[in-house]
C-alpha cells in the first residue's frame, strides 16, 4: 500500500462545500438544494405541481402555520402501481362493507394538521372518491369510493404525496371489540361520576344537619343513586376479583369488591333501619376514581399499542409476476404466488419470497436474516430469501416458498409461540398487595370475632376495611405507570406492557447488537486518501470518481455517489467509453485519459471493518475512498451514560470477530465483552444465560434473542419483525433512547415505592386506630379519600420530575 499524502475527514470537506455554495430550501420539503433547481428531487416537484394544479397549495400555508418542530423529508415515491387493490379477491378480504366500496389504509408519515387537511381533500385529487376521513391518533384513513373509482389510484396518489399507504384487513374483530369496551367503560365512568356528584350534594346536606323527614328522603335518594354505581359501574372490579379468586390468588380488586359489597350492604341495612351510618358518598367516589384512573391507563396503553396492533392487519406485500412471453411484469399479492412462478425483484426492493435466481446478477443485503452488513453477490442458481434487500440490479427469481414457509416466516412463527411462553414476572405492586391484603383480611376478621359486641365489632371491622382500602396500590401505581408510558411515547418509545417498566428498573446488563444498532447499518465514506503524485486537484479527482460511479448500480458505488453529492461535488465531467464489468469495477475515458474505479485489495485489510475503493489511471492509484459501517455518533456518549448507571455492556454480532474487535476498541473502555460470528441460535443461548439483561437489537436475526431476553428493545427500522418479539420499540434511530428509558423506569419505580411507603404507614396507623375503636366507619370514609389524594399528588409530583429529566 502506497503512503497516503493527505487524509481528509469527510466533515472538513462538507464544511468547505457549505461555504462555497449557498443553500436554498426545496419548495416542498425544505431540504437543502444545491444548484439552481427549486426542488431536491422529482418526487417533491411532482407533489408541488399536483397541489398547485388542483388548487390545494394552501397546504403549504397550513403547514408553516402548524409545524414548528417537525422536519419534512424529501418524497420517496415507490414505483408500486397498487393494481392488486382493484382485484376482486383482494377487495373481498380488505373492504370494510359488503359492496367493496370502503377501505381503510394505514399511512406512514402523518405529522400535522396540514396532512389532515390534504388527505381529506382526496375527493379533489382522485376521481371517484366520495370521502376520506383521517384518524389522527392511529394514522389511518377511511376511504369511501363511488362505483367507478379505483382504490389503486387512491393508493398511488397517497404514495406520490409521501404517505405510503398500507391497506388494513377488515377482519379485525379484536379491534372492534376493544372499541366497544372503551365506549362501555366511558359510560361506566360517566354514570359513576354523575351519581357520585349528586350523592355528594345530598351528603353535604346530611352532614350539614338536615333532620327528620328530609334526612330520611335524602338517604333513600342517595341509595337510589348509589345502586347503578354499585352494580353497573363496579362490574369490572367484581369480574376481575372473581377471576383472581378462581385462580386461587388475591388481586387488588378482591378487597375493593369486598369493601364495595360490604359497605353497600351495611349502608342499605342502616338506611332501612333509619340509622345515619351510611357510606354511599365515599363508596361512589371510590368507584369513580378507580374507574377514571384505569380508563386513563387503558387509553394511554392503547394509543402506544395502536400502531403495533395495526401492523398485524396490514396487507401482505405485493410482488411482480414475470411474464416471459411479453417480458413485462404484473403486480400480484405475494399470498397468491405459487411455487414455480417467476417474479422480478427490482433495485432497492425487498425479496418477497424464498427462491432461486434464474436470471440476472446482483448484490443482496442479508442483514435482516444473518446480521451481515456486507451485501452478497448473487447470480443464476443462487438462493435468495424473503426479507432480504436487492441492492443491485433487477433479478428474476423462481419462487420456492412463500409466507410462513419461508425462512423469515418460520422465524416469525417460532417467535409468536415463544413470546407467549415468556415467564410471567410478578409485579412489585402485586407482591406487596398479596401480603398486604392477607394482613387486612385476617385482622378485620380477628377484630370482628374478638370484639365483645357484634354490632360494635362489625363497625370496627368495616372502619378498618374502609380506612385500609389500598388506594395507593389501586390508584397511584397505574397512574404512575400510565404517566411513564405517556412520557415514553412522546419521546418515541413504545412500551408494550407496563410491567416492562419494573423489569427495566432492575437491569444489571445491556446486550447490544452491532449492525444497525450501534452502527448505522449502511456503508458510508469515512475518509479519502489522496495518492496522486502530481498536483492534480483533489476536487477534480472526486468529479471523475463521481462521474464514473454515478452510472453504476453497485451498492458501494451508490453509497460513494451519495457521499460525494452530499459534499457538493457536481457531476459535470464528460465520460467517454463508460463500461462496467460485474465484479471488477467501472472504466471510462476523461479528456482522453483512461480511468478505472475498482476495489483496492490489501492483504493487511482483508476481513477488516473497512472497504477501500480506488480511482486508477494507468494502474496508478490516485484516490482511495474508505468505506465502513460507521458507529453512530451518539453511541459513545450513550455507552458512557449507561456505564455510569453501573450497567455492564456487551456486544453481540453476526459479523466476524475481527470486525467486532475493531468496534470494541473504538468504544473502549465501555464495552465489557464483544462477541462476533453469532448466529441467531447462539445469540439466543447467550442471552438466556444473562441474568437481568436488556437486549437491544433489530431484524429477524435478533428476534429469537429478543424473545427470550428478560427485557428487550427493538431499534428503529425493523418494526414489523422485531416488535412481535420485543417489549419496547424505539422509533428513533440510535441507542440514546435506551438510556432515557432506563432512567425513566428507575424514577417511576422510585415514585411507586415512595407511595407504598406512605400507604403502609397510613394504613398501619389507621388500621390500629380502627381496630381499637378510635375511628368510626364515617371518619374512615372521610380519611380514605384524603389518603388517596395524598398518594395522587405524590404520583403527579413524581411524574413532573420525569418530565423535567
Amino acid at each position: 500500500m502506497s503512503t497516503s499524502t493527505s487524509v481528509t475527514r469527510e466533515n472538513n470537506i462538507l464544511g468547505d462545500a457549505c461555504r462555497l455554495t449557498p443553500h436554498r430550501g426545496c419548495l416542498h420539503c425544505g431540504t437543502k438544494v444545491l444548484g439552481s433547481s427549486a426542488f431536491c428531487c422529482q418526487g417533491c416537484e411532482f407533489v408541488f405541481g399536483l397541489l398547485e394544479k388542483s388548487g390545494l397549495s394552501q397546504y403549504y400555508d397550513l403547514r408553516s402555520a402548524s409545524a414548528n418542530s417537525i422536519s419534512f423529508r424529501p418524497i420517496v415515491a415507490g414505483s408500486d402501481q397498487y393494481s392488486y387493490l382493484d382485484d376482486p379477491e383482494f377487495l373481498k378480504e380488505f373492504s370494510i362493507d359488503n359492496d367493496y366500496r370502503r377501505m381503510d389504509f394505514y399511512l406512514e408519515g402523518i405529522q400535522c394538521v396540514a396532512c389532515l387537511w390534504l388527505i381529506e381533500k382526496l375527493p379533489v385529487l382522485v376521481d371517484g372518491v366520495i370521502s376520506a376521513e383521517l384518524d389522527f391518533g392511529r394514522s389511518t384513513v377511511s376511504v369511501h369510493m363511488s362505483d367507478t373509482g379505483q382504490f389503486s389510484l387512491v393508493a398511488q396518489t397517497l404514495d406520490r404525496l409521501g404517505y405510503r399507504p398500507h391497506p388494513i384487513q377488515k377482519d379485525s374483530d379484536s379491534e372492534r371489540f376493544l372499541q366497544k369496551e372503551n365506549r362501555v367503560w366511558l359510560v361506566r365512568m360517566g354514570v359513576a361520576g354523575a351519581c357520585t356528584g349528586n350523592i355528594m350534594l345530598l351528603a353535604v346536606s346530611i352532614y350539614g344537619g338536615v333532620q327528620g323527614y328530609w334526612e330520611e328522603v335524602f338517604r333513600w335518594v342517595s341509595l337510589a343513586l348509589f345502586l347503578p354505581v354499585a352494580t353497573f359501574c363496579a362490574i369490572p372490579f367484581y369480574k376481575s376479583a372473581l377471576s383472581a379468586l378462581r385462580g386461587r390468588a388475591l388481586s387488588i380488586d378482591v378487597p375493593i369488591s369486598m369493601a364495595i359489597i360490604l359497605g353497600s350492604v351495611v349502608s342499605v341495612v342502616h338506611t332501612i333501619q333509619g340509622s345515619d351510618h351510611v357510606y354511599y358518598d365515599s363508596l361512589a367516589a371510590l368507584v369513580f376514581l378507580l374507574l377514571a384512573t384505569r380508563y386513563l391507563l387503558r387509553r394511554i396503553q392503547q394509543s402506544a399499542m395502536g400502531r403495533v396492533h395495526l401492523l398485524r392487519f396490514l396487507a401482505p406485500a405485493s410482488a411482480r409476476l414475470w411474464n416471459a412471453a411479453t417480458s413485462s411484469t404484473r403486480e400480484i399479492l405475494t399470498k397468491l404466488l405459487k411455487s414455480g412462478d417467476i417474479i422480478a425483484v427490482d433495485t432497492d426492493c425487498s425479496v418477497p419470497v424464498d427462491g432461486v435466481v434464474v436470471s440476472g446478477q446482483s448484490a443482496v443485503n442479508n442483514s435482516l436474516l444473518t446480521g451481515e452488513s456486507f451485501p452478497q453477490k448473487v447470480a443464476m442458481g443462487d438462493e435468495v430469501f424473503a426479507g432480504t434487500l436487492n441492492e443491485g440490479e433487477r433479478i428474476l427469481v423462481k419462487v420456492e416458498s412463500t409466507g410462513i414457509n419461508t425462512r423469515l416466516g418460520k422465524i416469525l412463527d417460532e417467535l409468536e409461540n415463544r413470546t407467549q411462553k415468556k415467564a410471567p414476572i410478578v409485579e412489585a405492586a402485586d407482591r406487596f398487595s398479596q401480603w398486604f391484603l392477607w394482613t387486612v383480611l385476617l385482622s378485620a376478621t380477628a377484630v370482628l370475632i374478638f370484639t365483645p359486641h357484634f354490632a360494635d365489632g362489625l363497625n370496627r371491622a368495616l372502619a378498618m376495611m374502609i380506612v385500609t382500602c389500598p388506594c395507593a396500590l389501586a390508584l397511584a401505581t397505574p397512574l404512575t405507570m400510565s404517566l411513564s408510558l405517556q412520557r415514553a411515547a412522546s419521546a418515541g418509545i413504545l412500551i408494550k406492557d407496563p410491567t416492562t417498566i419494573e423489569r427495566l428498573s432492575q437491569l444489571k446488563s445491556v446486550v447490544l447488537d452491532k449492525t444497525g444498532t450501534i452502527t448505522t447499518g449502511h456503508f458510508e465514506v469515512t475518509s479519502w486518501i489522496n495518492n496522486s503524485k502530481d498536483a492534480e486537484s483533489f476536487q477534480f479527482l472526486k468529479k471523475v470518481f463521481l462521474g464514473l460511479e454515478s452510472r453504476s448500480k453497485h451498492p458501494i458505488a451508490k453509497s460513494i455517489v451519495r457521499n460525494l453529492k452530499n459534499e457538493g461535488i457536481e457531476n459535470s465531467v464528460e465520460i467517454a467509453e463508460w463500461k462496467e464489468s460485474i465484479g471488477s469495477g467501472v472504466k471510462g475515458k476523461v479528456n482522453g485519459q483512461h480511468f478505472e474505479v475498482k476495489a483496492v485489495i490489501d492483504a493487511s485489510q482483508s476481513g477488516g471493518i473497512t472497504t477501500r475503493v480506488g480511482l486508477f489511471r494507468n494502474q496508478d492509484c490516485l484516490l482511495i475512498a474508505e468505506l465502513s459501517d460507521k458507529v453512530r455518533e451518539d453511541t459513545f456518549q450513550t455507552l458512557k451514560s449507561l456505564n455510569d448507571l453501573s450497567l455492564e455492556i456487551s456486544i453481540l454480532s453476526g459479523d466476524s470477530q475481527q470486525v467486532v474487535d475493531v468496534i470494541q476498541s473504538e468504544l473502549q473502555p465501555y464495552v465489557a465483552e464483544a462477541l462476533g460470528s453469532k448466529d441467531p441460535l447462539m445469540k439466543k443461548e447467550y442471552i438466556k444465560k444473562k441474568h437481568l439483561s436488556l437486549m437491544v437489537g433489530d431484524g429477524a436475526n435478533d428476534a429469537l434473542a429478543l424473545a427470550v431476553a428478560p427485557v428487550s428493545a427493538a431499534v428503529h427500522g425493523s418494526m414489523e419483525v422485531s416488535l412481535r418479539a420485543a417489549d419496547v420499540y424505539l422509533s428513533t434511530p440510535g441507542i440514546q433512547p435506551v438510556y432515557d428509558l432506563i432512567v425513566l423506569s428507575r424514577k417511576s419505580m422510585a415514585t411507586i415505592y415512595r407511595n407504598f411507603g406512605f400507604s403502609l404507614f397510613y394504613n398501619l396507623v389507621g388500621g390500629i386506630a380502627a381496630a381499637t375503636g378510635h375511628i368510626t366507619p364515617l371518619m374512615a370514609a372521610v380519611l380514605m379519600p384524603l389518603s388517596a389524594f395524598t398518594v395522587f399528588v405524590s404520583s403527579l409530583v413524581g411524574a413532573r420530575k420525569l418530565v423535567r429529566s
Binding site: 388548487g55 394552501q58 394538521v113 389532515l116 376521513e133 372499541q179 365506549r183 328522603v217
Partner: protein, 53 residues
C-alpha cells in the same frame, strides 16, 4: 323546605337527562377519536366547492 319536593325531582331529572345524553354520545362513538375532529374544525370547508366548479 317543602320546595324541596319540587326541586329534588327536578334536579334528578336534569341529571338523568345529561347522563342519558352522555351515554348516547359515548355509544355512538363520539369520544373514540378526540384528536382529529378538534383539528378538522379549524380547517376551511370551502376548498372542495371551489375546485369542483
Amino acid at each position: 323546605m317543602t320546595i324541596l319536593a319540587l326541586l329534588l325531582p327536578l334536579a334528578l331529572f336534569l341529571a338523568l337527562t345529561f347522563v342519558g345524553a352522555f351515554v348516547w354520545a359515548s355509544l355512538q362513538g363520539q369520544y373514540d377519536d378526540l384528536e382529529t375532529p378538534a383539528q378538522r374544525i379549524l380547517l376551511e370547508e370551502d376548498m372542495r366547492k371551489e375546485t369542483r366548479s
